[in-house]
Amino acid sequence: MDNRKHIIEALLFAHGEAVKIKNIEAVFDAYYEDIYPILCELRDDYDEQKRGMRIIITHDTVKMVSREEYYPYIKLLLSPPEPTTLSQAALETLAIVAYRQPVTRSEIERIRGVQSTSSLDTLIARGLVDSNGRLDLPGRPMGFVTTDEFLQFMQIETIEELPDFGAFSGVDMQENEEEKE
């Protein structure tokens, strides 16, 4: 029997945090196409049995985490920090980065109508947003993008899986794209 599924389970536990799928491929000297279905199978096993752990898969990484519904019990054993919540300002900024990436700080501030430096700093410190270098726009401004951590946050594999909010409101999300300075 192919025991790669169980080996991966051991890898995820021993490694902690998010494991690069590329590194798992290297362990088995296999391709993404071989490894990905095993990851999905492992994830589905955990979900079907409502195990204490869950497997969160993104495009680049896979991570073993405790299942959120068991948090109240974890709290009885440990004193984990109270869940920190992002401010409304930070959430709006994160929404703009997610749907307009790569996006400049000035574009974020144009949409929100308020300066957004501290929100961006918070999101960067939390590992949800990162800068991906200078954009080819006048002044070579810094472009901001969401990270792999953000995909885990949303429980999606790629940024294309973000829900299409433009479709809901009937307004094209890309409409104002050319206004970018």
Binding site: F13, A14, H15, G16, E17, A18, K20, K22, N23, A26, V27, R54, I56, K63, M64, V65, S66, R67, E68, E69, Y71, I74, P80, P83, T84, T85, L86, Q88, A89, L91, E92, L94, A95, I96, A98, Y99, I111, R112, G113, V114, Q115, A125, S131, Q152, F153, M154, Q155, P163, F165, G166, F168, S169, V171, M173, E175, N176
Partner: protein
């Protein structure tokens, strides 16, 4: 529930947020905003909020001037778009901004829901091993190194201000002052860990001072100290004035 009526700008994340709330409250069509009435209500908020963050205030004032400009353009003869021959609505640009902003506001509340679950999931921290694979093509930029360094320093709550000279200061603490500080904190929280106590000033001088203060308070019988195992965090329990039902 009168407190809800107190005008405050701080609960709005910006001028657009305030405008959207006024539009909702007045139950008017976003594509046909009664500019005169909305401007009046908007200005009431601005006037009422006399004490708050000056930077935020500036942004609210910019919007106020936009509203007044639109209001005055509404009173002028209608402008005609030369290409289409249609009337130009002075409100058009503002409406587009409001709609764009309201979309992101909706997305933000969706993200808040996702965050709810996200913050309840834990993973093991990767502290024993380093990834051995995939370090071959490592390309480091000075920005990446700075970021890594800031992350380390952020954990200790020390910030590198860009381009600012570093000030080396010697800090002096008296054990008496630290004891009264700690009493004040413990009176409120009852129980604190050593890490929590030092997190505000993670300097060697403060840590030493606060450690002496803890020993002193223990001697005075005001606190108990516990530690689960060697090197684990030390918990300080306040045992003085426990009259409030503890």
């Amino acid at each position: 529930m009168n407190e809800e009526n107190i005008l405050t700008l701080e609960k709005f994340s910006g001028p657009l947020d305030l405008l959207l709330s006024l539009i909702a409250k007045n139950e008017v069509d976003i594509f046909d905003i009664p500019i005169s009435e909305i401007t009046k209500q908007y200005m009431n908020y601005i006037y009422a909020a006399n004490s708050f963050n000056i930077e935020l205030a500036a942004e609210f004032v910019v919007m106020a001037s936009t509203l007044i400009e639109i209001k005055s353009r509404m009173m002028l003869p209608k402008e005609i778009d030369e290409e289409t021959g249609e009337e130009i609505d002075p409100r058009e640009e503002l409406v587009a901004r409001l709609i764009e902003y309201s979309q992101f506001k909706a997305i933000a509340s969706h993200l808040a829901k996702a965050e709810g679950d996200y913050s309840l999931r834990f993973s093991r921290e990767q502290d024993y091993f380093e990834d051995i694979v995939d370090n071959t093509n490592l390309q480091l930029t000075s920005e990446m190194i700075l970021k890594a360094m800031s992350k380390v320093l952020l954990k200790r709550k020390i910030r590198i201000e860009e381009n600012s000279p570093m000030l080396m200061e010697t800090e002096e603490y008296s054990v008496e002052v630290l004891i009264s500080d700690l009493q004040a904190k413990l009176r409120e929280k009852r129980r604190l860990t050593f890490d929590e106590i030092i997190s505000s000033h993670p300097t060697r001088a403060y840590m030493t001072g606060i450690f002496l203060a803890i020993l002193e308070m223990y001697k005075m019988g005001e606190i108990t100290i516990s530690q689960e195992y060697s090197y684990s965090d030390i918990t300080v329990n306040y045992t003085k004035d426990t009259q409030n039902g503890q």
